[in-house]
Amino acid sequence: MIYNPFPMRVVSKREEAPGVRTLKLEFVRQEDHEFFKANYRTGMFGLYGIFGEGESTFCVASPETRKDYIECTFRQSGRVTTTLADADAGDIVTFRGPYGNRFPIEGFEGKNLLFIAGGIALPPTRSVIWSCLDQREKYGNVTIVYGARTVADLVYKHELEEWKHRDDVNLVLTVDPGGETPDWQDHVGFVPSILEKVAPSADNTIAVLCGPPIMIKFTLNALGKLGFNESNVYTTLENRMKCGVGKCGRCNVGSVYICKEGPVFTAAEVSAMPQCDL
């Protein structure tokens, strides 16, 4: 029934940043995998769990173009994530999903893409980035602006390296003032201000923005200044969730159930929500 998760086997794990892990999971049962393949689209999330500890919600960080496995990236903080972070290859964890809506990337075709992410919020963006990069020909220019508090806090460092060296991706990295290392070559400054310097034209451009609430707020302002229409800016919202299927009643912001109607929203939809409920 609806609360019964899929058993998943840990294939590998990677330390992304202090306290931040990525787990690569494969399906134990064929039928679960088939279900996932049939239903997963980029932007969706799931509940990752360990029996005995519980479940925790985060996005599927792998793209819809790669459905052989699920990757998830999370910060070790509570009871579940602490245990998940301990999982090694071969261990069994669980996954319930995919849930929620998705980034409408068909609609992005032929357009320029601007991805903006802050800190631990790169994973949801990364899912869309790869979903698009894996079909690179369908889209226009791709710009990725990613910032973190310090150099150590940047996640997916190996992929950042890869994007950096791709001709068809413009990667802009930045760290908050004070977070740079002596050999840091990229930008220093907060994402919104860097964005104003490096952003492509708003014309025919879709922006995908993920980050902590405070960053989202200032970045939306910056995008506004740059002429982006709120309906062309997509973001994801994350709230505490337990059921993931619109029953348990905790994730709503105003009348919106994040788990059912989200987690992907346009900036226009977000600004229609009661801001203090976010």
Partner: protein
């Protein structure tokens, strides 16, 4: 001429249903608490109560429900899904507000993902409602477009006879009709007058309330702080509410074996929305009270076309600090005068 269930045949009625495979649940007062429990004899029933303290929701959405039993092995995990029993049950003597509560929650539990824990019980339950002839200071069904003899959510409606000898019986659904089969010989025809239903005053103007709540400006109103100042943040109003349905999922057990459970949770609790980061979107009692009212009289209606309140008044009746929906909605009504 209508069908009558004579009070003095109630025991026969119970026996007939039981032999037809039904469990019969009715209001019972035991250990200083009134609630629905299985009964075998009519004398165990407490049908004269205005309302049981606990709702019948308990029997469809239990306060704690095992979902999955797990057992961790060295290389594997055994899981066993715990399925609720498909037990045929008659709920006898339900009040219209409680019956409505079930109907109000049905769409939520069926919203895209069907929650079988609810529906396996719903589908096997027959709700026999008794119209109210008495009410108290807290009843407010009439304020939420229901009434002391509302049929919403009921399969069979019983209307007390004026002479107190029994009830006029009306089947409202196929399930209700089917339930009357085993007791057809007990029912008799009659034309006794029914007692007048309780008169429950309208305590607030729900339309005005809905309009005010729908106004985005109301969300940030200072009103919420004032009205909720004495709320202590317990969950008794939500847990005694026939329509509140929020829950938590928890794993519980020892080192290797345990049960994943679905437990009632309450929007009154700060932990309800607390992120692991420590950020809490609803970090004050006033925002939580606002959520409760908004959810019941604005959001829920937006999703499912109905307000999530059946007017039982338990929230106020049981509140340790004498708060409740009525007071708030009266105040909103007054705001918009």
């Amino acid at each position: 001429m209508t069908r009558i269930l004579p009070k003095n045949r109630l025991d026969d009625c119970i026996a007939a249903w039981r032999s037809a495979g039904f469990s019969v649940l009715a209001p019972v007062r035991r250990s200083d608490l009134s609630r629905f429990e299985e009964v075998e004899r009519s004398e165990d029933m407490a049908l004269d109560l205005v309302l049981t303290e606990r709702t019948i929701k308990d029997h469809f959405f239990p306060q704690t429900e095992p979902l999955i039993k797990y057992s961790i092995k060295k290389h594997d995990i055994d899981t066993q899904e715990m399925v609720p029993p498909e037990r045929k049950r008659v709920f006898f003597g339900v009040r219209p507000c409680d019956a409505s509560g079930l109907a109000i929650d049905d769409p939520l539990f069926g919203w895209d993902y069907r929650d079988e824990y609810w529906f396996k019980r719903r589908d096997n339950a027959v709700i026999v409602t008794i119209a109210c002839t008495t009410s108290d200071d807290f009843c407010m069904c009439s304020s939420v477009n229901l009434s002391p003899d509302s049929t919403k959510g009921s399969d069979v409606m019983l209307r007390p006879l004026q002479n107190g000898s029994g009830w006029q019986v009306e089947a409202l659904s196929d399930r209700g009709n089917a339930l009357l089969g085993p007791i057809s010989s007990i029912l008799k025809e009659g034309s006794d007058a029914t007692a007048s239903t309780a008169s429950v005053p309208v305590r607030f103007d729900v339309d005005k309330v809905m309009a005010w709540l729908a106004d985005p400006a109301s969300f940030e109103s200072h009103f919420w702080k004032e009205i909720s100042v004495r709320c202590i943040g317990c969950g008794s109003c939500t847990f005694l509410c026939p329509t509140c349905h929020c829950f938590d999922i928890q794993d519980e057990g020892d080192t290797y074996t345990g049960i994943r459970r679905k437990n009632w949770d309450s929007c009154s609790f700060p932990m309800f929305t607390m992120h692991t980061s420590g950020h809490n979107p609803r970090n004050t009692q006033s925002t939580r009270w606002r959520q409760r009212i908004m959810h019941k009289f604005n959001y829920y209606r937006g999703k499912f076309g109905v307000n999530s309140c059946s007017g039982c008044g338990r929230c106020t009746r049981q509140c340790p600090v004498d708060m409740g929906i009525t007071e708030t909605l009266q105040a909103i009504t007054n705001l918009t005068k």
